[in-house]
Amino acid sequence: MGLDYQLVLWNKYKKTYDKIIALSMLLYVMVFAGVTFAFNSETSIETLVIRAFGSLAIIMLHLILIIGPLSRLNRRFLPILYNRRHLGVSMFIAAFIHGGFSMFQFHALGDVNPIYSIFTSNMDYGSLTNFPFQVLGFLALLILFVMASTSHDFFLGNLSAKVWKRLHMMVYVAYALIIAHVFLGAFQQETSFFTIGVLAIGFIIVTSLHLITAFKERKIDRTKVSEKDGWLEVCNISEIEEDRAKIFTVDNERVAIFKYDGKLSAIHNVCKHQGGPLGEGKIIDGCITCPWHGYQYLPSNGQSPPPFTEKVATYELKLDGEMVFINPKAFEEGTEVNPCKI
């Protein structure tokens, strides 16, 4: 949406969230250190750092994975979603400290290259209980690096949204690798039951939340709409909240119908930035504002306010009493449509 690239698209909320992230990370590491020393005073500093940052990274990864589904189930989580990128980059830093210290501790003292050593110091690739689990951590860290380093709109534009999205879907591969890393590592290190327990519960939460949202999405796609003279009856006007939208599937496309200032407007639900669900956002300063990163569109024509140039398709609406009807045929992207007066 920008005309040049900023270091970070800051606003005052983001700065606050970043402070919260940094402070929480610090607090976690301090509490972790306190508890470790209280129960096991012989733990070396290196081991402490490795464990503190490893577990911190995986907790953060869980948060990152559940924000998406959570904010679809409850809008109150949306502010965290806006800040997911920063959470992701911070998570990478924590994982990097963990991986870096492990390499330093276990692989840097010999005369082989430490990365080579991760792969070859234990060649028991056929074993389950003695599997070289650090290799899995290394591969996961590699994926996290690619994701963290491309978490900027420059890459979104230059890699193309499709490639970028694919790269970032790799987070699930990384997640699987990390779970295997911790579980297989647990046979060889004294990984605490706490870590394993958190991981198991986390896995259940992540998968069930994803399933619930997938289910909910299917419901939207299957909602029956009845047809009358080519117009589709979608809902009663009272079902849409002021300055919000309801999403319907019309002609196999998702459409968001917004209610604002005593008017109704309908646009294609898919944001031009990264495909965010516009209908889950709200109207701010007269513009439909994408819940993911805040791209804006005018409800009457689907165009981003100048100087921006993004456009989405618009739809025609009409009211019959209390009932809202939509013409399933989409207009060209950015076509002005008179809002339907309530």
């Binding site: 900023q6 420059f154 230059n158």
Partner: protein, 69 residues
């Protein structure tokens, strides 16, 4: 297994070395990659540098195309 590891790490190493090279070209001539970089502060290049190393195969195409511009 050793052979597979050597091949994998060899490819990874070459990938990153080429990436480093493309990354350095990016630091010097970011405009060629993306015209928007012309109006962008220099600091941003350093922020983007690691990402260029990671994804250079997707970006070098632009380098050759924009030579004619």
């Amino acid at each position: 297994m050793e052979i597979a590891i050597n091949v994998f790490l060899g490819i990874l190493g070459v990938y990153f070395l080429v990436g480093l090279l493309v990354g350095i070209i990016f630091l010097l001539k970011a405009k060629k990659f993306d015209p928007l970089m012309a109006d962008t502060k220099k600091k941003v290049r350093f922020l983007l540098f690691p990402g260029v190393i990671a994804t250079w195969p997707f970006l070098i195409g632009k380098l050759f195309k924009s030579k004619t511009v």
